[in-house]
Amino acid sequence: MSDPVLAVERLNISFHTRRGVLRAVRDLSFHVERGETLAIVGESGCGKSITALSLLGLVPEPGRVEGDAVRLEGRNLLALPEAKLRRLRGARIAMIFQEPMTALNPVLTVGEQIMEAILEHEKVSRAAARDRALALLERVRIPDAKRRFSDYPHRLSGGMRQRVVIAMALALSPAVLVADEPTTALDVTIQAQILELIDELKRENGTAVVLITHDLGVVAEHSDRVLVMYAGRKVEARATADLFARPLHPYTRGLIAARPQPGGGRARLAEIPGTVPSLFAMPAGCAFAPRCAVAEPACGVAVPPLMPAEDGAVACIRAGEIHVPEPAREALRA
């Protein structure tokens, strides 16, 4: 196996607030290969967005990022000074956000905003940047791109704006594209088009994609592997097909069971009874135990370690009993 383009090792993110220390992400490790899509799923507040932002070094105050490493093409971003990190942002790792309506600057034309991404990183003439920006608009299939180029964002629909954001993110052919719920705010038909577009561009450029979503339908169709998060921790990581065929963690099973059947609309992961414990005061043991149907006293004692399982990993002491795994062939590199 070649080195992954992105490898996250024991990432911890905490917010030091007046109410105390909120530990949003704990000991999170994962990696993404070239040309691969890793989906990150989990309930609202489990730390998906903040993890995504940490990959670009954009965790807002009062957030604190600690950990062994966030390695992008071999470079540890956690050890880079801000000026060097800035040069990688947008160039080697780019991001698409959830809200296309507010993601663009209202007082600059879409063309200018795409050109800016190019001009910030490369020494090219404005004319060359303009040509490239226009080509990008065409590539993300914005109709009438020439005219749209000098339009302000408010004249574009949500789907069109998201295409502009994608064009901007892909302007410098980054190695990794982080998409934080890129279609949640869009209509179902537009959603599918945008996800197709991301897939297509990924295939063309060999970009690795980190796709954050609430929607298990999206996960099933557009990802190669899945990382399931619960209350800031990774609870399961598997190949997508395996995960849907044989979910190991009780939480994952809950998610899949709660998923509406095809045609039933979008899945919102809110159907598992109970609520996530406060991130300010986590229970000693498994964070899911209070909501878990198969929990036993031992679950409340210590946080269950991640165990290799079926070409992936799961953090549940009962996973083995409930589902007899094939002998772990190869411990996934976390």
């Binding site: 670009l56 954009l58 800035r86 040069r87 990688l88 942002r89 947008g90 160039a91 780019a94 991001m95 956000f97 809200e99 507010t102 993601a103 663009l104 600057n105 209202p106 007082v107 600059l108 800016e116 991404a117 910030e120 990183h121 302000y152 408010h154 954001v165 901007m168 993110a169």
Partner: protein, 322 residues
């Protein structure tokens, strides 16, 4: 655009007529009428003389006839006659208006540019020493009465240091022309413009800081960061351009009060503008002149507001003139 212009012109007409109405009834409310005033000045108030005067001024006509003739006068910029100054009111106002516009324009430019810059600096250094200093200074200027600042500036820079003139708009005895004259007026302008501007400088510093910080929290700034845009470019190109919008709005709202402030400052610095004229008119009970100034100031405020509107549309592409 045509629709916008039509609407704006209708608005201006509405405001002007409204002010004319208020003026007219203020005139009626004041004890006595022009005939009495005139007669009082002439020193002979015989009933025959008064009646003659009333006939001459049309004061014997029904109220609505008087009102329409007043309105006609106003619309033709015939604002009446100042008996105290022995000049038509419109001539007096036109003489004094440029000085006031110069003072207001300079003060606003000073307050918005320096205030904006300080606010930007404070926002970029939020929570650090520079921010604390700027914010404290802004609070100080905000809280200090304008006249007190004016007097202190005169005491320090004119009386103690003798760097700048105490008042007036030009050195009378020098008889300067051209550039030398402009420089002389500039020297006279510094203290009054600073006095009038400091309070607004404080306001715009605070406003710009708050506005910048708010824009910094918006999604598109995060997008720009994710693109790898340099912090300085983010501050100017992305944040500042958006943060200016509330500043422009506030400026439009505050014009009236800035004009009010100008009256006070003109009085302190013997600046020969509309404000001082109004002050004199008030003390001499020169009602015609006072109402003329009131009318004229309202028109100025309306027109400058129009300019502010246009500036706003230029800054924000989401607003279209319609």
């Amino acid at each position: 655009m045509a629709r916008y212009l039509r609407r704006t012109i209708a608005q201006i007409a509405f405001v002007i007529i409204g002010i004319a109405i208020i003026n007219f009834f203020l005139l009626r409310l004041a004890p006595g009428d022009a005939a009495q005033v005139m007669a009082g000045e002439a020193g002979s108030a015989t009933p025959e003389y008064m009646a003659a005067l009333r006939k001459q001024f049309g004061l014997d006509q029904p109220l609505y006839v008087q009102f329409f003739s007043y309105l006609k006068n106003v619309l033709t910029l015939n604002l009446g006659y100042s008996f105290r100054q022995g000049m038509p009111v419109s001539d007096l106002i036109l003489q004094r208006l440029p000085a006031t516009l110069l003072l207001m324009g300079t003060s606003i430019a000073f307050a918005v540019s320096i205030g904006g810059m300080l606010g930007l600096l404070a926002a970029r250094q939020a929570g650090k020493l520079a921010d604390t200093l700027i914010s404290a200074l802004a609070l100080l200027f905000y809280a200090t009465p304008v006249f007190w600042i004016g007097v202190m500036l005169v005491v320090v820079f004119s009386v103690l240091l003798d760097w700048l003139p105490v008042g007036g708009m030009a050195s009378v005895e020098a008889g300067l022309t051209g550039l030398a004259y402009a420089a002389d007026v500039g020297r006279h302008l510094i203290l009054p413009a600073t006095t009038l501007g400091l309070f607004y400088l404080a306001i715009y510093t605070r406003l710009m800081r708050a506005s910048m910080l708010e824009v910094y929290g918006q999604d598109f700034v995060r997008t720009a960061r994710a693109k790898g845009v340099r912090p300085r470019r983010i501050a100017v190109r992305h944040v500042l351009r958006n943060a200016l919008l509330p500043i422009v709005t506030t400026l439009g709202v505050q014009l009236g009060s800035i004009l009010g402030g100008a009256i006070l400052v003109e009085t302190v610095f013997a600046w020969p503008g509309l404000g001082r004229l109004a002050f004199e008119a008030l003390f001499q009970r020169d009602l015609n002149l006072l109402l003329g100034i009131l009318f004229c100031s309202s028109v100025v405020v309306v027109l400058v507001n129009l300019a502010v509107d246009l500036a706003y549309t230029a800054l924000d592409p989401r607003i279209e003139l319609s």
